[in-house]
């Protein structure tokens, strides 16, 4: 669709800090987080010094391992492999879960019939799904990603079903009278109403998915952070395990801060009213 003025434009009102006190107020939470993390690192260093052991390396050693793994490229290769799986599983789970959730939320009979299935799938342990996927579909990428997605889909279904139940029929009726096309209906009527639910499903989704991806990699892949952690577990190399874990947590934090939150702010810009 190429019509002017129907795209998502950035908000007209400038968003920014208007005064010094505003800047300070914005920086305070960042500084608090930094101080808090620094405190944790300090505590870790002190503890590692007090009880020196191979099983409990200090932050300095972990940092050195991290640099070494980054220098020889392994770190980025395995981070990349894991991130790719996280992204693929996330997309599959969100799309499939949203479609199923919206259908169930808008068809009461189907919902009553399939509700027990949803409860059942919600309660199957992640490990069982992963093992069965590998047995049935082989030790391949599709089975790995599918297993992760299947673990997440029931949560998405439950959230999006709530979202569909909360849809305001008057918007759909307006769209019907003015004969909106299917794409316009989805993009301009359905998705904006579902946005808070999508955001909620997304948020809990990414956190859950990356943890399951590590298990999938440990059980049946030959690369990725989960594979590396398993490798260093067998070598009893705790510093490397911690290095990979911290690197991956850092990446997920960056994604949350620089991708998830800006997207969410953009999607909800219409809620902000000028002062």
């Amino acid at each position: 669709m190429s019509a002017p003025d129907i795209g998502d434009r950035p908000p007209g009102a400038a968003v920014g800090m208007s005064s010094q006190s505003g800047l300070a107020a914005a920086l305070t939470p960042v500084l608090t987080v930094a101080a808090s993390l620094f405190g944790l690192g300090l505590l870790w260093g002190l503890a590692a010094n007090a009880w020196p052991s191979r099983a409990f390396p200090g932050p300095g050693l972990v940092w050195q391992v991290l640099l070494a793994e980054a220098a020889n490229g392994d770190l980025f290769y395995h981070l990349g492999a894991t991130l790719g799986r996280v992204a693929a599983a996330y997309v599959v789970a969100m799309v499939a879960g949203s479609v199923i959730g919206v259908l169930l939320g808008s068809h009461r009979r189907a919902d009553r019939f399939f509700s027990p299935w949803v409860v059942l799938f919600l309660n199957i342990p992640a490990l069982v799904v992963i093992v069965l996927a590998y047995i049935w579909f082989g030790l391949n990428e599709a089975a790995a990603i599918g297993a992760v997605a299947v673990n997440k889909i029931p949560n998405v279904v439950v959230t999006m079903r709530e979202g569909a139940r909360a849809l305001d029929p008057s918007y759909a009726e307006m769209a019907a009278v003015y004969r909106f096309g299917l794409l316009d209906r989805i993009r301009h009527v359905l998705l904006p109403q579902l946005q808070p639910y999508l955001a909620a499903a997304s948020r809990s989704g990414i956190a859950l998915i990356w943890k399951i991806v590590l298990v999938v990699e440990l059980l049946g892949r030959s690369n990725g952070v989960g594979f590396q952690i398993y490798l260093y577990f067998q070598l009893f190399d705790v510093a490397a395990i911690l290095a990979y874990t911290l690197a991956f947590v850092a990446v997920m934090l960056v994604i949350e801060l620089f991708l998830v939150q800006p997207v969410e702010r953009h999607a909800t810009r219409w809620r902000r009213r000028p002062a």
Binding site: A3, P4, D5, S170, Y171, A176, V177, Y178, W270, P274
Partner: protein, 246 residues
């Protein structure tokens, strides 16, 4: 002025419409409701609250298909219909202009809307979100959306209810201005007799529920002659013809 709109008038012939509540109670909303609106005519459906006016419009808009009977919308020209609902029903996440453009068919998507926005006093509000508009302005935006689509027939459901009288009066004049520029076959629902007398070519008077037509009241006089003096005369002759109503 050449009336635009359908060649075939709007013809309504609803035999019955019954609501069944979850408890099994059934409410007969419409019975033997039939009337016509001639092409290019502005007609009002006048009836007391709860008599079935909104129900009738929902059937004509194709939003409620569970009724017996039939109706025919104007044909020829565009086959589009437009509606101004009881609430403005603007998408809160789209600006005023986006709300209007989204309702346009592909062929009109890029058309100039300056004239329409100017007439309705919305020129400076095109990039605002609905939450930033007062109710009066939101209703103007809903009018803009309806007229922008150049429909063959226009339905309005008490578009000026729940506004203060001054704002409502101003909006009635705006409605007349945009409608006169392109006299579309229009059916407006109202329970306000004065409003009906001011705006319409003909008033279709409905009875209490189940709604059916009590009679017609034609207002032949051109609208610009309908000053306060004439209005009170119209009011009197309406009340003579329909003593119990309003």
């Amino acid at each position: 002025m050449q009336p635009v709109g359908g060649v075939v008038p709007l013809r309504v012939d609803i035999a019955e419409k019954t609501f069944r509540s979850a408890q099994g109670v059934s409410i007969k909303a419409l019975q033997d409701l039939s009337f016509e609106v001639r092409q290019g005519e502005f007609a009002c459906l006048l009836g007391p609250s709860g008599c079935g006016k909104t129900t009738t419009l929902r059937i004509l808009l194709g939003l409620d298909k569970d009724f017996s009977g039939s109706f025919q919308l104007p044909e020829g020209g565009s086959d589009r219909i437009a509606a101004v609902f009881q609430e403005p029903v603007l998408l809160p996440w789209r600006t005023v202009e986006q709300n209007v453009r989204l309702a346009l068919p592909k062929s009109l998507r890029t058309k100039k809307l300056d004239g329409l926005f100017d007439t309705l006093g919305l020129a400076g509000m095109r990039s605002l979100y609905p939450a930033e508009l007062s109710l009066g302005l939101a209703r103007r935006a809903a009018l803009a959306r309806a007229f922008a689509t150049e429909p063959a027939v226009l339905f309005l459901d008490e578009p000026f209810a729940s506004l203060d009288e001054r704002t409502a009066e101003r909006l009635r004049h705006l409605l007349l201005t945009v409608w006169s520029a392109r006299p579309t076959t229009a059916l407006m629902v109202t329970h306000n007799l004065r409003e009906a007398l001011m705006l319409s070519d003909r008033i279709i008077v409905l009875a209490q529920r189940p709604a059916h037509v009590l009679g017609m009241f034609d207002v032949k006089l051109p609208r610009h002659y309908r000053n306060p003096q004439v209005m009170s005369d119209l009011l009197r002759s309406f009340q003579q013809k329909f003593p119990g109503v309003a």
